[in-house]
């Protein structure tokens, strides 16, 4: 089972209208080579799920600028002016979800939960069209799971089997999107032999990883 794939071959995986989860927080922990491949594939009408739309020249931001995105589900779009402009022009749908709710929705999608109850967003625009459930006299929003066709994960160290560790604050959404997507592609900053990563640091087991891109950053 050789999971290593070239950026060239990767393009065969991307299709129009796909839903793609992308790791990263303001671009930190986003696999830029994977974004390159997605841009070169030039697939359109994507739904992108990620924490934010980064900056115009980085990570998810580049996909927005390249007009490949139909809808974004994120917690924050303020650092990328293009996102707001396309939204205002009616060319991009934006669904804003509180950050803690967004990651729990992704986790629920990957962990087989039908939904989660969170107090976040009660009494705000976020509760629109959502069921409210009272538990012990406290109100919670029922938030639904999210899943995607593809996850673009950035790993700091990845072994041949796909076991992945994430350094510092690059973890963010990466471990959860790797659980919540049908096809999981990991960009390896450092690629090592199976067994070389300290087992106490592995956050994503190789069994959920389908493809590894090992081109150096």
């Amino acid at each position: 089972m050789n999971k290593v794939i070239s950026l060239e071959k990767l393009k065969d995986i991307f299709k129009d209208d796909m839903t793609i989860m992308i790791g990263g927080f303001l671009g930190c922990g986003t696999g830029e080579k994977l974004i390159d491949a997605l841009i070169q594939s030039d697939v359109k009408n994507l739904t992108i799920i990620g924490n934010d739309t980064s900056f115009v020249d980085r990570g998810i931001g580049r996909l927005i600028v390249n007009n490949q995105v139909k809808k974004v589900i994120a917690s924050h779009i303020g650092t990328n002016a293009q996102t707001g402009q396309l939204m205002n022009e009616g060319k991009l749908e934006v669904e804003l979800s509180p950050q803690g709710t967004l990651i729990e929705r992704v986790r629920a999608g990957g962990f087989g939960l039908g939904g989660i109850l969170t107090p976040t967003g009660v009494g705000t625009l976020v509760e629109e069209n959502k069921e409210k459930i009272s538990i012990n006299n406290k109100e919670y929003l029922l938030e639904h799971p999210l899943r995607a066709d593809v996850a673009l994960v950035k790993g700091s160290i990845v072994d041949e089997f796909g076991n992945t560790m994430y350094k510092g604050t690059t973890k963010n959404f990466n471990p959860m999107i790797a659980m919540a997507s049908d096809i999981v592609i990991v960009e390896a900053e450092e690629f090592v032999n199976t067994g070389e990563i300290n087992k106490e640091m592995i956050m994503t087991p190789g069994v959920v990883v389908d493809y590894i891109v090992k081109e150096a950053n």
């Binding site: 804003l96 803690g100 976040t120 350094k167 604050t169 963010n172």
Partner: protein, 219 residues
């Protein structure tokens, strides 16, 4: 002392030993500079870190370690890194003792609006909605007015970040606590009269019987 420093210094006095604290971007972050001697607190950055240190000097930069504002920062000896789910577990689960953040509007019922101006500015709520719902104590740190208008209202007019969550408001003019009876002014700054404060505040104010006069040299 400039107004922002007045605010930051006063907010820092609220921090207690051993607390886990989350500071919003901008003015709230300044409070970290004024923590009192003998007080040891831990800062969280909700993108995935507890024990956050300072903004990294050039030779300290680690590309994998940023704060929630996107700056390269250091991590202290007592720190650790987490994914977003754990980070917001700490927040929503009540493990964050204090969150300090700015506001567009706050009202006398403790309602807060700081994430959207419909039709004008739609940055998104990021982690703010979770923080104000989850943190044990919510302190709004902001200038009292914007373009001459009070930011402290009877009722917020902008879409809310959360309902009934604000515990305390610290501005350059006063310190106010949200109580069951309304907004209680507990401290007022040097050179400001109660009448002036009332004049500059749209919300109804209750003046504490034990009102403290903040002298600038001592805060």
């Amino acid at each position: 002392m400039n107004p922002k420093e007045i605010i930051a210094r006063r907010v820092a006095k609220e921090f207690e030993n051993g607390q886990l604290i989350n500071l919003g971007i901008g003015l709230p972050t300044l409070t970290a500079n004024y923590i009192e001697d003998g007080i040891s607190v831990t800062f969280q950055s909700e993108n995935g870190m507890v024990g956050m240190g300072k903004v990294a000097d050039k030779d300290e930069i680690d590309l994998d370690t940023i704060n929630a504002g996107g700056q390269y920062v250091t991590i202290n000896d007592d720190g650790a890194f987490f994914d977003t789910a754990m980070s917001f577990g700490l927040i929503r689960g009540g493990h964050v003792d204090v969150t300090v953040l700015g506001a567009l509007e706050v009202d006398q019922n403790g309602n807060l609006a700081n994430w959207i101006v419909p039709g004008k500015m739609v940055p998104g709520m990021g982690g703010a909605m979770d923080l104000v719902v989850g943190a044990k104590k919510v302190i709004v740190a902001m200038l009292h007015t914007a373009k001459g208008k009070s930011k402290i209202l009877k009722n917020c007019t902008l879409p809310l970040t959360a309902k009934n969550v604000v515990d305390m408001i610290v501005t350059e003019l006063a310190v106010m606590k949200v109580t069951e009876n309304g907004l209680l002014v507990t401290e007022i700054s040097e050179g400001v009269t109660v009448e002036e404060l009332i004049e500059m505040t749209e919300a109804d104010l209750i003046i504490s019987d034990d009102l403290v006069r903040r002298e600038m040299q001592t805060i």
